[in-house]
Symmetry: C2
Subunit: 340 residues, 2 copies
DNA sequence: TTTTAAAATACAATCGATTGTATTATTGTT
DNA sequence: AACAATAATACAATCGATTGTATTTTAAAA
């Protein structure tokens, strides 16, 4: 009362009840009469009572909170995923703590450590570009906290659920599309090979070449962290030795857009001289001229499903379905950067 | 031990110490010898001990967490603000819970309620478009939780810190710029007048007209929620009666871009027929053609400063500086949509 | 009306860490 | 060596809610 923050004990005193009864009443337990439930809820309302979740969670050994780790919220793909996660979590009564690794392993480790201290009930992660081995993630799982990957996952971490798209297939679609519009010499921008998604996209690129009987030339594949600057650097590097390329498939939109800007600057015509395909469907891809052909991953769905899967797993710890991998559909969005 | 989650009591037992000593040791209290601190930390490490923040926070009556409420994380302005908030919070050892109101008052109220139950130490908010009176926010403050607004604030809620830009001045700069490049009849897209920022931007628009002795015509001001679709609707609506407008100042980029797309579609030349200025510097504004002139608000800074201010306020509750308003600089970025 | 079963409520321990107070151990002083 | 002064550690209560068990109250049955 002194603090302006009434507890169940204050309510109990006011009503001449025991705090345990008040607690049960507030939780609609059937061990309490309707009448007392009414009295208690009314009084609680009147006193402006709010359950102290810290106390409640401590006792219940459950935080009702899930942690989400993404490289960077300002990436549209991730913020959309988060929107989906939020939706599913909200509906199930969970809180969400959102954290950014900023592509740094050290930060990611710190975050994991912090989430553990906060006793989160589960974690959703799309790993940073620096994440190689999953030591910190194993530690998390070992302490009994369910973990689900979405998009950027680690192959070695088995026994964790994953929500992905078929990157290899999507990449093959993208590359195949370039070939079908007539490209003969297609470059590929890839990311750190520690991340499965980039390995898969490269694999898809290669399998499309194979399918259409085009040669695979390692010099046409440039690895980077796929920032806009990296896109510029990559295309520069390729043009030095292979000025006759006529298509680029980039493993993300941002790098593709960097390349596009550079190519426009040096007077190349897109798509006629060089056609371009990105990956992820960032909103600027639709707006840039020419609009960038890309792969849409339905991030909102990914988030929603990943979160539901996690919540399911939090429910039945014993479940053997914990290592389930869900593959979602992706779509090739054909836009002007490949319209010949 | 049984649970794989050692507590200070387990450590104490192992070392024949009292849990209070262990607690103090882990907190580097000077009431404990260096030697025991060493012994304890070593043992804690060995046993894989992690402090249970729920218990700790419950006892300390402090969650070390701040809540952040934004309309939508996927807006670049907000995700950048969050990045700034994150930075400041991380440095000060605070956790951040990020919540989206999705522009709905009801959700905003629910979030506030939830944050209170979670005993957050403070809240940063940029209110939804539906937020009119600040009943739920007052309730928060009344329960002693410091509240700071950034960007979208409520004028009526005095006694809360605010971190803003000078919207009126920025709007006047934007409108003045249109006039200086020769626009004579300038439309304005505004948002809900419940939000101070939109009132201020409208005010700035009017003051620029006055300064350059142009008439103010209420028919040229359209209010909406400033989505991309709203931008299209707004420009359509204006053109019906006032087909001779030669400039538009939109209170955000998204609506400006909607208008731009529509205008390009119907064959209007930008900036020659109609010049356009937006507000917020969303990334697509730079990429669209013609690139959109806009106001940059340095969102990262806003977030960082707002968070620092909040943390300061959490520190000295007694402070009289609680109603401080900080105004940050904004910049007009002149781009092709106003380059005649 | 008494007895008994069932319903409603009270008691008390607990979650894990923190902290004011009390006790024991150590050091230095004369 | 005895004593005070201080350092180091132990004891015990506490934060607020939950929950298993015990007790009381109520309702139903005999």
């Amino acid at each position: 009362m002194k603090n302006g923050k009434p507890t169940i004990h204050e309510i109990a005193r006011e009503l001449n009840l025991d705090s345990s009864t008040v607690s049960r009443a507030l939780n609609n337990s059937d061990r309490v009469t309707k009448k007392t439930i009414d009295r208690v809820t009314r009084k609680a309302e009147e006193m402006g009572y709010r359950r102290n979740l810290m106390a409640s969670n401590l006792r219940k050994k459950k935080s009702n909170t899930i942690g989400v780790i993404v490289p960077r919220i300002s990436r549209y793909f991730f913020s959309s995923t988060i929107a989906g996660i939020d939706e599913a979590a909200f509906a199930a009564g969970y809180n969400v703590i959102i954290c950014q690794s900023l592509e740094e392993l050290e930060r990611e480790q710190g975050i994991i450590s912090n989430l553990m201290a906060n006793q989160v009930d589960g974690v959703l992660i799309s790993v940073s570009m620096e994440t190689k081995n999953g030591r910190h993630l194993k530690q998390l799982r070992d302490s009994g906290i369910p973990l689900i990957f979405f998009d950027r996952h680690l192959k070695e971490l088995e026994g964790s659920g994953k929500v992905l798209i078929d990157d290899e297939d999507a990449a093959a679609k993208a590359t195949g599309h370039l070939i079908e519009i007539g490209c003969k010499k297609i470059a590929h921008f890839t990311g750190p090979s520690t991340l499965q998604i980039y390995k898969s996209r490269l694999k898809g690129y290669r399998s499309a070449l194979r399918k259409y009987q085009l040669p695979y030339d390692p010099d046409l594949v440039v690895s980077s962290r796929l920032s806009e600057k990296d896109g510029i650097m990559s295309v520069k590097k390729i043009l030095e030795k292979n000025s006759e390329i006529d298509g680029i498939f980039s493993a993300n939109d941002v790098a593709a857009i960097g390349a596009m800007k550079y190519l426009k600057n040096i007077g190349k015509k897109i798509p006629d001289d060089i056609a371009l395909v990105g990956f992820s469907n960032e909103p600027i891809s639709e707006v840039i001229e020419p609009a960038l052909t890309t792969i849409d991953q339905s991030p909102y769905e990914i988030g929603k499903i990943a979160c539901s899967l996690l919540i399911e797993q939090i429910g039945n710890k014993t479940s053997d379905a914990n290592s389930r991998t869900i593959i979602l559909e992706s779509t090739l969005l054909e836009r002007d950067s490949t319209k010949r």
